[in-house]
Each structure stands twice: as structure tokens, then as C-alpha cells.
């Protein structure tokens, strides 16, 4: 299949992916594992262990509780739970965290048993097993995989996203090169659970060795329902909505999900985690993390236990060459800056970049927008960043929404090309926030208005009831003051009522 081009995105991003990558280095078990309880979208998980409890590798330590969107968390090595408390990492806001002091034995929990033939299980049981293994979307979204794999019926395509596109990051490339068979196995299990007609594995044109490995794995499987598609070397080709449009020609509705057009997209790492859950019986307790950047001696991909502090990983990359100016989790375009390296690796962490001030630099001093419009054709969401910036400066919430601020995927392409060094994405994150706040306000005022209206109705009703009652009483009184009441009274005292027509008055 030829690689058609796309009109959006940026091409000349420095630091292209290395073609052939060595096998992942297995990171050592740290003394302390720090497992934050917020490792999924939705509410944080609830611990099911207590301080002092001995845990073994793969043991369930937190569950979603009552939440539908939660995920299970497991101990990534054996040891003792030494703390469950709120901790702040890398300057981020504090999250409840389970601290496990490892014993170095790495004893596996007896519940971690392989499933012999997932394809003989009912699909619902496959999903249950995926949910129990705590598998979430490893592309960064952290959406619980089992929920994503359980949409309304009518899914025809499962996309396995290997088109990672930010500079530096190559953990998916690495996984595909060295574990393509496992990724395909995981993909087939998900396909079985979804009953999807087609599986498309997507990787980028520059990932030639990965593509070769996938082709080999697909040949082994010999299932015509699975195929490989090469996508162009454009950032952000691996964005879920962009990738789906490229592969299927269909756009995901702005207010909908890929499932609405019959597509489910899962990351390569997620497919591998699903494979592990069945083939090895291992829940999601480790992932491949790219360690890179000018301040590290080497760039490596490491197989890291969830909860390992980044400071422990630096040794894996040969240590610091010099004190980094910046440390980023994720890529240099969308990544989050860390204030220090005492941050645990979570399920979302695909890459750690430690760079000097030259290689990882924020934009220079901001100049006025010169309306060059360079930001428009690069936007993968089809937005007009120059207009959005103007609307944000004027605090025009309605205009921001009308021109699609909520469709911004925060990829940073507009920042990348802006000759005036305007921090557009940073502004747009704030703009989105204000639109959401406005929504909330509108919702609240609507509720207040409704409450008031209903209150008015109730008051009117009550008044009407009182009025009817009063009228009834009055008419009773009127009536009773006339002959009926008199008759009743007279009956009680045993006399006849005077005849109306009679006249001895």
C-alpha cells in the first residue's frame, strides 16, 4: 500500500526515530516502588491492601471501587506496603500513592496464571480478564481497555496504533521490532473480544524494521483479516482521530467517539499488555519506556516496573552527562515538565527526556502575531489557531467554541511553526478550561432557572390550592349558613325546618 500524504502536520521534526533498536534493557527492581492510585481516566483506584501487608508481584493492590471507569492496580514486585498516603511528584498536584518496600525476591503471586486458549473463552470473559489485569490505554490516554473494547455492537475495524510520532519516543517501535508476534497476539485477542472484521496495524514509514517484524508476524498468523498500513512520517500521524481518518477515510464526529464510526483504536503497548495478561498471566505491572535526551549518556528503551522512580532509571541510561535543564515525561511537543526526577513511572509514561537548555527549549520571547497563517495548514484538527488566539484575548467564549477550541488536540504543531513564538497550545489549554467553566456556569444557571421556575409553579399551585380550599370553605359557609346547615342543626335538636315557602316568620 502506498503512503499517501496528508496536508496537515509537521514534517521536519528533528530527532527522527532510529531504524534498528536494541532489545529493551530490563530496569532493576528499585528499593521502593511508588504506585500512584490515579493511573486511569476517571476516579482514582481504591487500595485493597493496608500498610504493613506483604504483597507479591502481580498481586491486586487497588480496585476501581464503585467506579465504572476505574482500573485495577497490581504490585510490580514483592515486598511490604510501607505507606498509603498523598504524595506530590515532580511538581504535580499530590495523588494518593501506595509505597511498596521491595524485598528483592520478586515472588510471583499464585493467581498469575496463563490462560491457555483465550479464543475458547466467551468474549465477555476475555474482557473480564483484561479488566482484571488492569490494562489501560498505554498511548497516554489511560482509558481502561476492557471498557473501550466493550462498545455498542457494530465495530468493524480495530486499529493497532504503532505510529508514534513525537521526536525521541520510540518505545512502540522497539516493542514492534522485538515483540511483533506478541503484539499481534494481543491484537487478535482484542479482535476476538470485539468481533471486528478487520485489524489494521499502523506504523510510520520511517519504522522500516518494525514494519518488517510486523510483516513476519502477520505471515506467521496468516489471517487475512489482519493487515499492516504504513502512515506518512508526519507529526501527529499517531493522533487517534488523525490516524483513523488516514486509515478509514472517515472522520470521528467531534462530539462522538471512534466507536461511532465502527472503529476502536488501541496502542501497540496495550496490545502487548493484553498478550501478557493471557500468555504469561501477568497483569499490567511493567511497560517499555524510552529514556533519551542530550543530558543522558545513552538513549535506551527500558522495560520498567510501574512505580519505579525515574531517578532509579537514570542509571539504566548510563547516568546524567550533565544536570539536565529540563526533564519531560512524554515527547518534546506534548510532554509534561518535571521539577525533579523523584517521579514514579506510571502506565502513561512512554518516554523520559532529560535535555540541556539548547535541545529542549521553550519558545523565545513572544512577539505579536503577524497573521502569517502558517499555523492554519499545519493544524491536524483543521482549526485556525491565529483566530482562536484572537478570540481568547477578547475572552469571546462563544466564538472560541464556535471555532472549535474544544477540538484542539493540543499537539503543538501551531507552536512549532509560529514565527512570533506565541505559546498557542498553552493559551488554548486555558481557553478550553474557560469554555468548560462557562458550560458549567450555564448548566448551573440553567438549573437555577429551572429550580426557580419549579419553585414558582409550586407556589402558584399552593396558592391555587389554598384559594380553592378557601373558596370551598366559603361556599360551605355560605351554604351552611343557609337552609342545609339550619336543617342539620334543627334535626339535631329534633325539630322540623321551617318551610321556605311557608311564611310564619
Amino acid at each position: 500500500m502506498s503512503t499517501a500524504d496528508v496536508s496537515w502536520g509537521i514534517r521536519a521534526v528533528p530527532r527522527k526515530q532510529l531504524a534498528a533498536l536494541p532489545p529493551a534493557v530490563v530496569a532493576p527492581v528499585p528499593d521502593k516502588l511508588l504506585i500512584p492510585l490515579q493511573q486511569n481516566v476517571g476516579p482514582a483506584s481504591v487500595p485493597v491492601v493496608v500498610v504493613g501487608e506483604q504483597v507479591s508481584k502481580g498481586q491486586l493492590i487497588a480496585t476501581p471501587g464503585n467506579s465504572l471507569l476505574g482500573s485495577n492496580l497490581h504490585a510490580s514486585s514483592s515486598g511490604a506496603v510501607t505507606a498509603i498516603e498523598a504524595r506530590s511528584f515532580g511538581g504535580q498536584r499530590p495523588v494518593n500513592t501506595i509505597e511498596i518496600t521491595t524485598d528483592g525476591l520478586d515472588t510471583l503471586h499464585p493467581d498469575c496464571r496463563p490462560v491457555d486458549d483465550p479464543f475458547s473463552l466467551p468474549p465477555a470473559d476475555v474482557l473480564l480478564h483484561i479488566a482484571q489485569a488492569g490494562v489501560v490505554g498505554l498511548g497516554g490516554a489511560l482509558f481502561p481497555a476492557a471498557i473501550k473494547l466493550n462498545p455498542a455492537p457494530g465495530i468493524d475495524t480495530l486499529v493497532i496504533n504503532g505510529a508514534e510520532c513525537e521526536p525521541y519516543i520510540n518505545c512502540d517501535n522497539q516493542l514492534l521490532q522485538h515483540a511483533a508476534n506478541s503484539v499481534i497476539h494481543g491484537a487478535r485477542i482484542m479482535q476476538y473480544a470485539l468481533n471486528a472484521a478487520t485489524v489494521i496495524i499502523a506504523c510510520k514509514a520511517e519504522m522500516q524494521d518494525a514494519a518488517e517484524a510486523i510483516r513476519g508476524a502477520l505471515d506467521d498468523v496468516a489471517d487475512p483479516r489482519l493487515r499492516l498500513t504504513i502512515v506518512p512520517d508526519v507529526y501527529p500521524a499517531g493522533g487517534e482521530r488523525q490516524l483513523i481518518e488516514y486509515l478509514t477515510g472517515k472522520q470521528v464526529p467531534h462530539d462522538g467517539l471512534p466507536a461511532d464510526i465502527g472503529v476502536i483504536c488501541q496502542n501497540v503497548g496495550t496490545a502487548y499488555a493484553v498478550h501478557q495478561a493471557f500468555a504469561d498471566g501477568l497483569p499490567l505491572i511493567s511497560r517499555v519506556v524510552t529514556l533519551s535526551g542530550d543530558s543522558l549518556k545513552q538513549s535506551v528503551n527500558a522495560l520498567v516496573r510501574i512505580g519505579t522512580p525515574v531517578s532509579n532509571l537514570i542509571e539504566v541510561a548510563g547516568g546524567y552527562l550533565q544536570t539536565p535543564a529540563r526533564m519531560i515525561v512524554g515527547g518534546p511537543l506534548m510532554g509534561i515538565p518535571l521539577s525533579d526526577d523523584n517521579v514514579p513511572v506510571t502506565k502513561a509514561c512512554n518516554c523520559i527526556i532529560a535535555g540541556d537548555a539548547g535541545s529542549l527549549a521553550p519558545a523565545g520571547p513572544e512577539l505579536p502575531c503577524i497573521r502569517c497563517g502558517d499555523c492554519i495548514p499545519v493544524c491536524p484538527a483543521g482549526l485556525m489557531p491565529n483566530l482562536l488566539l484572537d478570540l481568547q484575548k477578547r475572552a469571546d467564549i462563544g466564538g472560541l467554541e464556535k471555532h472549535g477550541i474544544l477540538d484542539c488536540i493540543e499537539c503543538g504543531c501551531c507552536d512549532y511553526v509560529c514565527p512570533s513564538a506565541i505559546p498557542l497550545t498553552h493559551n488554548f489549554k486555558a481557553a478550553k478550561q474557560s469554555v468548560w467553566e462557562q458550560h458549567l456556569l450555564t448548566l448551573r444557571s440553567k438549573r437555577a432557572a429551572q429550580r426557580f421556575a419549579e419553585h414558582e409553579v409550586r407556589i402558584t399551585q399552593r396558592q391555587e390550592e389554598e384559594l380553592t380550599q378557601l373558596q370551598a370553605q366559603t361556599s360551605d359557609l355560605n351554604a351552611s349558613s343557609s337552609k342545609d346547615a339550619l336543617q342539620a342543626l334543627l334535626q339535631r335538636v329534633g325539630k322540623q325546618a321551617p318551610d321556605d315557602s311557608g311564611g310564619d316568620s
Binding site: 506534548m334 512577539l367 485556525m384 498553552h426
Partner: protein
């Protein structure tokens, strides 16, 4: 525990920046300026020099007056570029205060009174030039016949140029000759046919004598700008098509009185305008479809003014008129947002 900077990303950026863009545009303009210098003598360079110095001076004064930081805008080259663009518009032997006045209008009125870099409605250089065009039309016709020999014997000497520029010498007939577009307009008004007009001294086998080379070198600079990604192809293509298509239709209709598209493209400063005036980012349309419409509008208006207007060349007015339409164009040519109904 190390401590790292946590300012927001992205942390990688393209090498594009405003100052770099301005420098690149100035470099791309160099071949056309060289051609003008070759054909019309030292006066062109003196005009550029005066205009650049005045623009920079006015930029400095306005930044001071408006209490704005000097550093980013004074050194980004935008004022110098405005000066150069004024310089290439002016005939070689005009009084020195003409480029000065153009610079005043460009920088003070068109740029800073609208809010400075990024906020001007009109292309500053074009506005400055238009002021001269309507206020001092006689001076604006002081184009000497181009000298293609390279011997420079018919060109004004530095001394004569300076004398003319300072008013010590009054212009004599040899100084000015009708430009090809003037010749065309006058000839056609005098009921002449194009083939007759083109046998005159203002034309040669390539088209308008001398001006062809200015335009082709501007085209070379423009193509370089396109390759460098400094300008998009949409506006230049829009202008060339907007001017070329009506010209072609009219020429096919009656080649005797309607100049060919080629003649339109290489006359006056058309291609200079296409790549260096129409593409000014601030005053041109920003949306992709809007840029095509904006460019086409400039082309069509230029053709209309050249064909029916009082001025032999209408490029400057076409640009200014389309500058006015930019907010409207941008408003009605939004992009299609992903996942929204068309």
C-alpha cells in the same frame, strides 16, 4: 534530587522567526534591486538608503512615543524591509524628501497608528508609496530610459542624481521618459494599436524594455522565498492568475488593444508586487482559501485599473483595496474543522 525548569512546552520549534523571515525577504529582494540599479543607476540605492534610515528612525520614535520595548521590533528588520520596499518603488532621481515622506506614512500612519507590528490593516510600504503616487504624480514619473548596455553612459551620474535629489538641479527632459505602461496607456488612448506601440523605444523583443529583467529577478527571489517556506504559494498564484486570466480572455478577444498576460506580468513592478507586496503576512489574508481569493482580487483589480483606470499601473491600489477586504475574506473562508459537518 535535581531541580529542573518547568515552563510549558512545546520544547522544540522550527527555525522560523519574524526576524529571520524579514532577513530572508530582504535577501530575496536583492536580485531585483540589483536589476533596478543596473538599469536606472545609483539613485535607486540612494532611495533605498534614505527610506530605510527614515523607516528605522520613525520606528524608533514611535516605539519610544508609544512606550513600547525597543528590542524585539526595532531589530526584527521589519522597518528596514518596509524601507527597501519603498525604495524599489521610487524612480531614481526624485527629491530626497519623497522617500522620507513615504517612510513617514508607512511607519507612523499605516503601521504604528494602527497598533504596530501585526496590527496594521494596510501594507505599510504600499500605503507610503500610494501617498506619493496621488500627492506627487509628476515626480513619480521620473523614470529615465533603462540602460541595458551596462556601460552606464546614459545613466545619471552620482553627482547629477544627488543634485536632482537635493533640488539643486531641476529635472530636464533626458531624465524622464515614459515607462512602458505609460506608453501603452497613452498609445491606446491615442487610438494606436499594440503592435505599433510595441515598436517604440520602451519595448524590445522580450516585452517592456528593461522591466522584464526586474520582474524576472523578482520572480527568482520569490521562488526562493517559496522554497524557503517564508511565503505560501497561494497568494502569488492567486495574483498571477487573477491578472493573467482576464488579460488572456481580453487578449484572445482582441490582441490589437489588449496587452497579453505576459506583458501584464512583466510590466511595471508586477512580479515584484506579487512576491513582495501582496505576500506581506500582516495585511494579507491568513486562511488558505482566503489567500487565493485575496491574491486573485489583487490580480483582477490590477487588470481593471490598468485597462480602464486613470493610472497606468494599479498594483499599489489593488493591494490597498484588497487589504481592506482582508477581515471580510478571512471571516468567510474558515477552514473545515475535523469531525464537524461541512
Amino acid at each position: 534530587m535535581a531541580l529542573f525548569a518547568t515552563d510549558p512546552g512545546p520544547y522544540v520549534h522550527s527555525s522560523h522567526n519574524v526576524a529571520g523571515m524579514m532577513r530572508t525577504v530582504m535577501l530575496a529582494l536583492a536580485p531585483a534591486i540589483a536589476a533596478l540599479f543596473w538599469l536606472f543607476g545609483i539613485g535607486i540605492l540612494l532611495n533605498c538608503l534614505i527610506a530605510c534610515l527614515s523607516c528605522w528612525l520613525f520606528e524608533y520614535a514611535m516605539l519610544k512615543l508609544r512606550d513600547k520595548p525597543l528590542r524585539p521590533t526595532l531589530y526584527d528588520g521589519s522597518a528596514l524591509l518596509t524601507g527597501l520596499l519603498i525604495g524599489v518603488c521610487l524612480p531614481p532621481a526624485v527629491p530626497f524628501w519623497l522617500p522620507f515622506i513615504a517612510a513617514l506614512f508607512a511607519v507612523v500612519f499605516a503601521k504604528h497608528l494602527y497598533g504596530g507590528l501585526g496590527h496594521n490593516l494596510f501594507n505599510p510600504a504600499m500605503a507610503g508609496y500610494a501617498v506619493l503616487l496621488v500627492s506627487f504624480p509628476s515626480y513619480m514619473g521620473y523614470w529615465p530610459p533603462p540602460d541595458l548596455s551596462g556601460l552606464n553612459d546614459s545613466l545619471l551620474s552620482l553627482g547629477d542624481t544627488l543634485a536632482l535629489q537635493t533640488g539643486r538641479l531641476t529635472p530636464f527632459d533626458a531624465v524622464s521618459s515614459a515607462t512602458p505602461l505609460d506608453t501603452l496607456k497613452t498609445g491606446l488612448n491615442n487610438m494606436q494599436m499594440l503592435p505599433e506601440i510595441q515598436t517604440g523605444a520602451a519595448f524590445d523583443g522580450f516585452g517592456p524594455r528593461g522591466w522584464v529583467w526586474v520582474n524576472l529577478l523578482a520572480l527568482a527571489g520569490g521562488i526562493w522565498l517559496l522554497l524557503r517556506g517564508v511565503i505560501s504559494w497561494r497568494i502569488p498564484v492567486g495574483v498571477v492568475a487573477g491578472l493573467g486570466i482576464p488579460a488572456l480572455l481580453a487578449w484572445l478577444g482582441d490582441a490589437g488593444v489588449n496587452p497579453s498576460p505576459w506583458l501584464h506580468w512583466v510590466s511595471g513592478g508586477t512580479l515584484l508586487g506579487v512576491f513582495f507586496f501582496a505576500t506581506d503576512p500582516v495585511s494579507s489574508a491568513a486562511t488558505p482559501r482566503g489567500q487565493l481569493i485575496y491574491g486573485a482580487g489583487i490580480g483582477i483589480l490590477t487588470w481593471v485599473i490598468r485597462t480602464w483606470g486613470a493610472y497606468p499601473d494599479g498594483f499599489a491600489f489593488a493591494v490597498l483595496l484588497m487589504n481592506l477586504a482582508v477581515p471580510l475574506i478571512d471571516r468567510y473562508t474558515p477552514t473545515k474543522i475535523y469531525g464537524h459537518p461541512p
